[in-house]
């Protein structure tokens, strides 16, 4: 499957990925409106972690052995059979946070809207996720890892 690879040595911690992710998952998909009016209802699903000079952008790893899926007690968390992406069916999610307990990357957050799990969906319907498109330094890159 295609996976977003993280190059921490390239990341300058600018946070543009977070901005574009938030806008992409907002209702308006407009940057000003998303930040002015929707800030309370939408979270970026990528988070830049920083510690001194080290930084990297972290979003769901869409793990081969996805611990969030096995922990999900409702069946809301699932693997898309076509793309291999790990997705949350927010209609079925009840916000029990079993997935948060299980995810070793800490890549899931409690959503602010409707109390459902908020995580990277690889920008469903787009060839390349917006964080990857907008990273100025190729610190997150979409790569095929089928040969691994």
């Amino acid at each position: 499957m295609k996976r977003i690879r993280i190059y921490e040595e390239h990341c300058i911690g600018c946070g543009l990925c977070e901005v574009h992710c938030l806008v992409q998952h907002s209702r308006s998909r407009k940057i000003i409106r998303a930040f002015r009016e929707e800030r309370d209802t939408v979270l970026p699903r990528v988070q830049v972690e920083r510690d001194g000079y080290l930084s990297f952008a972290l979003q769901c790893r869409h793990c081969d052995d996805a611990l969030c899926i096995e922990a999900c007690m409702t069946g809301a968390m699932y693997r898309d059979p076509e793309t291999g992406a790990v997705l949350c069916d927010t209609d079925r999610c009840v916000g029990c946070w079993m997935c948060i307990m299980a995810c070793p990357a800490g890549a899931i957050q409690r959503g602010t809207e409707g109390k459902v799990a908020s995580k990277c969906d690889l920008c469903i319907g787009q060839d390349v996720p917006v964080c990857v498109i907008n990273c100025p330094n190729e610190a997150i890159v979409l790569e095929d890892d089928d040969d691994e």
Binding site: D51, F56, E70, T74, V94, W97, I100, M101, C103, P104
Partner: protein, 428 residues
């Protein structure tokens, strides 16, 4: 009916995971799944949500309605298996059927405990609460009898969740817990105290250090619970939530060895050839202590089922050891507890941070250089990183100062482990 290559007893987390596990290895071997309950596979932990009106019937389904068909599973629902004959490679059902198999999985879960010395437990209005049908029956009883007062016996996970459902229905509820605090199996004292405070604020009466000795009834219906401390609590409904025991009765007298549960090795194989067990019924190796224990939680059931399924189809998957963990919301207060939540032994140490008024609490239990447990109340968002460090037995001596800081994240963990997690190609 002709023999199935794979026969699965059960239709819940472990069974469904097993079907997926089999299909990863063997796309077309015949699978038959037989279960006592007639329902399509559903999420057991959601039964309290259903009672409380937080999910509807459709929301109960653990897999889509066409799932069995899509993955190629024949189902026999509403049939109870009463015995297993590993020698003959057959099982028999209560309605007199004999089913043959090449590989068998027992994933029958647990049976709710009704204390033998509790008098009056057969009155109307007294329920255990572990199935969809229980949720229906309780709902119906509440409506027909206009229930306003309830007693929940047992202050563990199922008890707590039952309370939440009853409170959502506007029923005044008392919890009776024999231990000196609620959720004592998974919480430390501080977390229990916060949970109890929260419940008290929501109008729930929590009575610890006592238990019901007799249920009083009038005209066959329950009207009160007599407690060991001498008090009587009036009520129109009692939910028994003392716990579940592995449902091992179907293998009694067979070659399948049991202790508390059905004993399995790291490949989920039982002592009998071609017979596997997984989920709440199984007793498998625990991660931290290394001995075989029954850890009746959803993620374990799923993982064990998946391993059993792959191995039934000829793979060699191995269990990494069970870890007790739970994520429970107590009246809007999220909590997560993992592993050992109270330091025991010389080499153990606790790091903690508490803001009592904000209902915020974090604690990490270390044994030497490794984390063996954690409790989170309020702030839970990075809990999974800690779970990962526990599961993988990572040496955290270089980062221990960071563990409870606000900006703790994956960036804080040892670099080699971090890269492994980031690669996404399996944590194992």
């Amino acid at each position: 009916m002709s023999d199935a290559k794979y026969l699965i007893i059960g239709n819940s987390a472990a069974a469904i995971a097993a079907v997926s596990g089999i299909r990863e290895v063997d796309p077309d071997g015949t699978i038959t799944l037989v279960a006592r309950e007639e329902h399509h596979t559903y999420s057991r932990p959601l039964i309290t949500y259903l009672l409380g009106g937080k999910v509807d019937e459709e929301g109960m389904l653990y897999r889509p309605a066409d799932w069995y068909e899509r993955v190629g599973v024949n189902t026999i629902l509403g049939a109870e298996v009463t015995s297993v004959d590993p020698q003959a490679h057959t099982v028999t059902t209560a309605d007199g059927r004999t089913l043959g198999y090449e590989k068998l999985l027992i994933a029958v879960g647990g049976t709710p405990i009704v204390p033998r010395d509790l008098q009056g437990a057969d009155a109307a209005g007294v329920f255990t609460f572990t199935t969809w049908d229980d949720a229906h029956a309780i709902r119906q009883y509440i409506e027909e009898h206009g229930v306003q007062l309830a007693v929940v016996i047992g202050g563990g996970l199922i008890g707590l969740k039952s309370v939440e459902a009853l409170v959502a229905l506007g029923i005044r509820t008392t919890v009776v817990e024999l231990a000196d605090r609620m959720l004592s199996a998974t919480f430390d004292e501080t977390a229990s105290r916060l949970a109890q405070k929260r419940l008290a604020e929501a109008g729930v009466e929590v009575r610890c250090g006592t238990t019901a000795t007799e249920l009083l009834s009038e005209d066959g219906s329950v009207v009160g619970a007599k407690l060991s401390d001498g008090d009587t609590v009036p009520c129109e409904l009692v939910i028994l939530a003392i716990g579940v025991l592995p449902a091992t009765d179907l293998v009694e007298g067979s070659a399948v060895a049991t202790d508390r549960g059905i004993l399995v090795d790291d490949g989920m194989r039982t002592s009998a050839e071609d017979v596997f067990a997984a989920g709440d019924v199984a007793q498998a190796r625990a991660l931290l202590c290394g001995t075989k224990r029954c850890i009746a939680i959803f993620p374990n059931a799923y993982r064990q089922g998946a391993i059993a399924g792959r191995n039934m189809a000829g793979a060699d998957a191995t269990w990494d050891g069970g870890l007790v963990m739970n994520s429970v919301t107590v009246v809007d207060m999220p909590t997560i507890s993992v592993g050992v939540t109270e330091a025991r032994g010389e080499d153990c140490e606790e790091l903690s941070e508490l803001d009592e008024d904000a209902y915020s609490y974090r604690k990490i239990v270390l044994e030497g250089d490794r984390i063996v447990g954690a409790v989170f109340v309020g702030e839970i968002d990075r809990a999974g990183i800690i779970t990962g460090l526990i599961r993988e037995r990572i040496d955290v001596s270089s980062v221990r100062e960071m563990l409870l800081t606000d900006d703790f994240g994956l960036i804080s963990v040892p670099a080699e482990y971090r890269r492994r997690v980031l690669s996404g190609t399996g944590v194992q």
